[in-house]
């Protein structure tokens, strides 16, 4: 789960990381007021959960409260990558003499947190990583020991940090580690960390991505979720504990297990079709969950065929069948249904579905082929049961 810049900055501020003075606003008159309080020279930043805000014109400098109000009116009326801008962050503008990159994330290969720093922070940090990898310093953090001061001194040397900033830099990095550890973050990033022409350090932009698996420990952070940029189907799916990702094809898939769900999509493609979604009902799913999942598929007008592919282990095929039946009952549009049940209570599952027409396949490949043919309107030789 990704936090907004202003939310991340509020957390950083609590941990003592210096951020420019400013506030969040939802209307242009508020922006004007904040701008007046800050002395007129401000930056107005749209708060949406996508990258490329700056390039889309969603981050603008204003020299006066009037200009800030005008800009806010424009920004608050725009959409960035289809997401409406509902809030802007208004901050005092600072004069920048250097931009540093500082971030902590999970290094999957080494299975440890890693601190990454660069003397060339800012918008183009990813290009720097490509073109001048020697300018990126990293150090692995022992998760049982935490980030140690000697590591920070090494990092400071690696990025040629002027010694007069060392203490402040170390304080900021230590705090960033605390944020990362305390919030169960997958990413805690300050980019850029600027050194101003007056020789002060500020976190100008902040990013925090939280580990969804750890949100049970952080109900306060879980409340910060913003679903504006998400597909409504994906939001519903999360509520029911299923994983749903909308895609652009015509074959709605309902599968248990992420690997099998991906494999099902692959075979559909192999046979010349396109999946309408990725849907993993998870292990041991009950009818209610499956019903909600089936309804998600049905809500997609592009879907022409439904493919149910379940290899029962923990998951019982009869529970899946009950859920599918529940969702299909009372629906006028009868989409063709392909069902493949293997394992726990497969026969019981087929029995429950007797009231609706469906085709069945014994192998994964056959199920995929059948669905693709049905989606293309090809009459199949396989008989309805």
């Amino acid at each position: 789960m990704r936090l907004h810049e202003y939310q991340a900055k509020q957390i950083f501020a609590k941990y003592g990381i210096p951020i420019p003075k400013g506030r969040i606003a939802g209307t242009s008159s508020e922006v004007r007021q904040i701008s007046e309080e800050l002395g007129g020279n401000v930056i107005v930043k749209s708060q949406v959960l996508v990258g490329g805000r700056g390039k889309a014109g969603g981050i603008r400098l204003a020299k006066s409260p009037e200009e800030a109000e005008d800009l806010a009116t424009q920004i608050l009326g725009m959409e960035i990558k289809d997401i409406p801008v509902r809030r802007v962050l208004v901050e005092e503008a600072v004069s920048i003499s250097q931009e540093i990159y500082l971030g902590i994330t999970t290094d999957r290969i080494n299975q440890k947190p890693v601190l990454i720093a660069s003397s060339e922070g800012g918008m183009n940090i990813e290009e720097v990583a490509q073109s001048a990898p020697e300018k990126i310093a990293r150090c692995l953090i022992n998760p049982l020991l935490g980030l140690r001061d000697y590591q920070l001194r090494d990092i400071a040397v690696s990025i040629d940090l002027n010694r007069i900033y060392l203490k402040t830099f170390m304080d900021i990095a230590r705090s960033l580690w605390k944020v990362f550890a305390d919030c169960d973050a997958q990413l805690a990033e300050v980019n850029p960390l600027v050194i101003t022409s007056e020789g002060r350090l500020y976190c100008l932009d902040a990013k925090i991505i939280l580990d969804d698996n750890a949100l049970f420990r952080h109900p306060d952070l879980a409340d910060l979720r913003d679903t504006d940029g998400e597909d409504p189907g994906e939001v519903t799916a999360r509520k029911y504990g299923v994983t749903f990702i909308k895609l652009s094809g015509t074959i709605g898939c309902l599968v248990n297990g992420a690997g099998l769900a991906m494999s099902t999509m692959d075979l559909i493609k192999l046979k010349g079709g396109e999946a309408a979604n990725f849907l993993d009902i998870g292990g041991g799913a009950y009818a209610e969950k499956v019903s909600a999942a089936t309804k998600l598929i049905l809500s997609d007008p592009k879907v022409k065929v439904i493919l149910v592919n379940v290899f029962g282990g923990i998951t019982r095929c009869d529970e899946v069948a009950k859920g599918v039946m529940d969702a299909l009952t009372g629906k006028s549009a009868n989409l063709p249904l392909v069902v493949r049940f293997v394992g726990t209570n497969a026969n019981e599952g087929y029995k429950i579905l007797e009231e609706v027409p469906y085709q069945t396949a014994s192998t994964l490949l056959e199920a995929a082929e059948m669905s693709v043919n049905l989606a293309k309107g090809v009459v199949s030789e396989h008989s309805y049961q």
């Binding site: 169960d184 690997g259 292990g283 293997v342």
Partner: protein, 287 residues
């Protein structure tokens, strides 16, 4: 021979009184596994599964009383890291964590701690280990595979069942099947399992089942080139997955071109691995 578990393994179950723990403990017993103990704090002294399995307050006391040498963990994600630490401190040589949804930072600490011990961790978020005809530790359905000479290692659950089922239907049996789990931070890697299979006298061929996300398959391909003498066959799920989408498993995230199915398949093929286009094709490649 087999790897990791066999009919002599003495298994304890952490979280034996939960729904899943109890259900699968019964399945393990019925399969012939020596399930010797359960651990559920607060329920020590009780017996479950028709009075066959005693419950203990802690892993340490369970080991002292029963000589257990492996554990399967079914406790909820909130408490799973603690359960693993407890098993490590009790010195269990084999720890299999079935639980899914463990926080990543918990897992990083766990891995670091396990590395400093002599214990092996498999999982989390995995279906466990099954040595056909002998024992199973976890949730892999017993009926879908038979004893044989193929070692199976997989990041996926149900997809593994597909492959086991297809192998059995083709008359092929399995030495041991290891589900290493779909999480990005996990105890046992493909390489760890391949190393064990390479050294196992009963395993002649290996099937590995990968999926998009991370770079496990790419790193494994290098290992295969250098160290494996036994033939390896593979299937990688997710060739049709769009970039940047997260497909359920925490591991299945594609970042740029790293971690795509195409990159994994080409790395494996370069290492001499025959890669199937779909799970059932593995059988054809093995002929």
């Amino acid at each position: 021979m087999s790897i990791l578990i066999n009919k002599h393994s003495k298994v304890l179950i952490q979280g034996i009184t939960g729904n899943e723990g109890l259900f699968h403990s019964r399945q393990m017993l019925q399969y012939g596994t020596q399930v010797v103990a359960g651990v559920t704090p607060g329920k020590g002294g009780e017996w479950v599964l028709d009075g066959k399995v005693p419950i203990f307050e802690s892993v340490k006391t369970a080991i002292e009383a029963t000589g257990a040498n492996a554990t399967a963990i079914f406790v909820p994600a909130k408490y799973a890291a603690d359960a693993i630490f407890e098993a490590v401190d009790a010195g269990l040589p084999l720890i299999v964590c079935i639980t899914e949804g463990l926080p990543i930072q918990d897992m990083m600490q766990v891995i670091q701690y396990v590395k400093q011990s002599k214990c092996r961790l498999v999982g989390p978020n995995c279906p466990g280990i099954l040595t056909p005809g002998e024992a199973k530790l976890g949730i892999i359905p017993g009926g879908i595979t038979v004893p044989g000479n193929i070692g199976v290692v997989s990041r996926s659950g149900t997809l593994t069942y597909e492959v086991l089922d297809a192998l059995r239907k083709a008359g092929k049996g399995v030495s041991t099947c290891v589900g290493i789990g779909g999480d990005p931070i996990k105890g046992t890697s493909f390489i760890d399992a391949l190393e064990l299979f390479e050294a196992d006298a009963k395993t002649d061929e290996i099937v590995m089942i990968g999926e998009i996300g991370g770079n496990d398959e790419e790193v494994t391909a290098e290992y295969i080139t250098r160290y494996m003498t036994k033939p390896v066959y593979a299937y990688v799920a997710g060739i049709s997955a769009p970039l940047g989408k997260r497909m359920g498993h925490a591991g299945a995230i594609i970042e740029g071109n790293v971690g795509t199915a195409a990159s994994k398949i080409s790395a494996l093929e370069l290492a001499g691995v025959k890669v199937a286009k779909h799970p059932e094709e593995i059988i054809e490649l093995m002929q």
